[in-house]
């Protein structure tokens, strides 16, 4: 009751603000990923709308932790992945429903927009629209790790001591698929999911001697691969493509069990104070030519319809080399993570980290 009264008050005040000053210049506090709000795009947006943009870069977990700490305040627009919206919203109530009438749906690739809307619906309200998408897969130095085709191959003797992956949930999911299981199908069934996790745990502990170190930041992994200390890693596609510019041997490879697909979205935090600016930003960056600029900066493609035409040929070529059509069809898209699942995974990750 308290929360609904509160949201009412908020919407009322937002309405009042909107009525009083229809074209007022706001400050948009944007909580996003590195590369998603490049300087040139911000300048164009500020020149066109008069709003100012303050960018804070972060990652999924920190975004949610920050919003949870303030009850959804401090930012006006955030960009968590689509699988991390429904769970945290049910649990912590940190987002506000999207007013889809303020979004220009024609700018989006229809299938992606519908999928994201379905995945981020809680209690009949839609909380997110898609922005940037990409995949988790293998970053390989093909000269030295040509035999690595799937996540489980990271544990083969050929690459012993030269492997790195993250101690995060994508690793668990990727290994489960690679071992022939389907963790996404077991999301709703806690017992089945626990069983899958225990098998993955065993594999990861057995694989530990092969690992040089668990990477935690993108730059850390770049350093490890650039210096040649790591020849095979589980990482994002853009990491592989960026490294490819320095060393043509290194590239991103979609694993045979399927790359893991994520979509980063736009959500409005529960206590966001500049909704108009937020919707303006969404509609602005989804324009094909602007979306292409973001693709150049972030390395990943967007859900903007027709933006591909504006993307440089070099990036398109890398994308096509990593993703032949069958690899695209084989992408496993992350479904929404049910609330509470992270605790199960967390215990497994802790035990793997502690194993000797």
């Amino acid at each position: 009751m308290k929360t609904s009264a509160f949201t009412l008050k908020l919407t009322a005040s937002a309405l009042a603000l909107g009525l009083a000053a229809p074209a007022s210049a706001d400050t948009l506090r944007l909580l996003t990923w590195g590369g998603y709000a490049p300087e040139n795009v911000i300048e164009m947006f500020e020149a066109e709308t008069g709003h100012t943009v303050e960018v804070t870069t972060s990652n999924n977990e920190e975004m949610i932790a920050k919003l949870r700490a303030t009850g959804g305040g401090g930012f006006d627009l955030a960009q968590p992945s689509q699988d991390r919206i429904a769970g945290p919203q049910e649990e912590f109530g940190i987002y506000k429903p999207m007013d889809l009438s303020k979004i220009d749906a024609a700018l989006f690739i229809p299938s992606m927009l519908e999928a994201t809307k379905a995945n981020t619906t809680v209690g009949g309200d839609v909380y997110g629209v898609p922005h940037v998408w990409g995949t988790d897969g293998l970053v390989l130095n093909t000269a030295q790790a040509a035999d690595v085709k799937d996540y489980t191959d990271l544990c083969s003797d050929a690459v012993a001591g030269k492997v790195s992956y993250r101690m995060r949930r994508p690793t668990l999911i990727g290994f489960a698929f690679s071992m022939g299981m389907d963790p996404f199908a077991a999301y709703a069934d806690e017992a089945a999911y626990t069983e899958i996790l225990s098998k993955v745990e065993e594999a990861l502990i057995a694989c530990k001697p092969n690992v040089k170190t668990y990477w935690s930041g993108g730059d850390e992994l770049m350093g490890l691969v650039r210096s040649g200390e790591v020849v095979a890693a589980m990482a994002w596609d853009t990491g592989g493509w960026k490294l490819n510019e320095d060393n043509p041997d290194v590239t991103f490879v979609a694993p045979t069990s399927g790359a893991l697909g994520w979509i980063d979205t736009f959500v409005i935090p529960a206590k966001g104070q500049a909704d108009d600016a937020a919707y303006a930003w969404i509609n602005f960056v989804m324009k094909p030519e602007i979306a292409a600029m973001i693709t150049e900066s972030a390395g990943n493609f967007t859900a903007s319809k027709g933006a591909d035409e504006f993307v440089s040929d070099a990036l398109k070529a890398k994308y096509q080399a990593s993703f032949p059509q069958e690899a695209v069809d084989n992408i496993k898209w992350y479904p929404p993570v049910p609330a509470g699942l992270e605790a199960l995974e967390g215990a497994v990750l802790d035990r793997v980290q502690a194993a000797r």
């Binding site: 920190e62 200390e229 502690a354 000797r356």
Partner: protein, 285 residues
């Protein structure tokens, strides 16, 4: 006059009290209440000790704490062993300018951030790093040598990070030891080791204890060094607190971890003080 004194006292105490209550006491009360909350379902919480029973029943957590505590104690002992001769030299043997220069040299590494210092060690120790390159150049190693991502590297980082906090109290206490006392010890037929044991160490004891407490607490609460230098084998208790709060959204268990860390580390300090026959008053006074 008396009222004026009282006002002065209040004004002087205000910053301290504000600091203590706003930054230490209130957050800890909040943390404690949070740690007593257990999640039973979506947005449903009950009050109970479930988080603490989880810690006590899941061996991993206690093992991690024990490992963190043992490594921190080891780091403290190593820091003391290295810092004592250094401090003795600075306080008793070096004179004039040499003394200031030496003290400054201990201080200089702390002018850069901990992150940069730790990264410096990574550059030295990594497989494609400076030491590995030197060894290969000198013909002592056939191939690249990996020295990072193990307990030894982590220990090096911890000792290096906490060196200053041992040197400063040791120099201060050793400085107050009158040279004449040491001379008298020699005149009475004492040898180097016996003077060290009977005169220098007992005099330096308050410095040793306060330095050790600071270094132990700093190591126990360190997050950066174990993460960066320890790599895949470094499970450190602070990392578990971080991952409960940030990665798993499990603030309740994270808060319980934080409280356990506070209680257990206080217990260890108390036990060591008892074992060595020291009291906090003697050390601080």
């Amino acid at each position: 006059m008396r009222a004026g004194q009282k006002l002065g006292l209040i004004l002087l105490l205000t910053p301290l009290l504000l600091w203590l209550s706003l930054l230490i006491i209130i957050p800890h009360i909040d943390l404690f209440l949070l740690s007593l909350r257990e999640r039973v379902g979506v947005r449903q919480y009950e009050t109970g000790l479930a988080n603490y029973t989880t810690i006590l029943t899941e061996p991993l957590y206690m093992v991690t704490f024990a490992r963190t505590a043992m490594m921190s104690i080891l780091a403290t002992v190593l820091t003391l062993l290295i810092a004592f001769p250094v401090s003795y030299y600075i306080a008793k043997m070096a004179r004039g300018r040499a003394r200031s220069v030496l003290f400054l040299m201990c201080l200089v590494p702390f002018w850069v951030s901990e992150l940069v210092r730790t990264f410096g060690w990574m550059i030295l120790l990594r497989e494609s790093g400076v030491i590995s390159g030197l060894l290969q150049w000198a013909g002592l190693a056939a191939g690249p040598v990996e020295m990072l991502y193990n307990d030894a590297a982590m220990m090096v980082g911890l000792v290096y990070t906490s060196m200053l906090f041992m040197v400063v109290p040791l120099v201060t206490t050793l400085d107050s030891l009158d040279d004449a006392v040491i001379e008298a010890g020699y005149d009475l037929g004492g040898s180097g080791p016996s003077i060290l044991r009977e005169i220098v160490i007992p005099h330096a004891m308050p410095g040793i204890v306060s330095g050790s407490i600071v270094v132990f607490m700093l190591s126990l609460g360190n997050y950066l060094t174990p993460t960066m230098l320890g790599g895949k084998d470094s499970l450190w208790f602070t990392q578990m607190i971080y991952s409960q709060f940030i990665v798993r959204f499990n603030w309740e268990l994270g808060a319980a971890f934080g409280f356990m860390l506070l209680i257990l580390s206080s217990l260890i300090v108390w036990a060591v003080l008892r074992l060595t026959g020291q009291t906090l008053e003697k050390t601080m006074g």
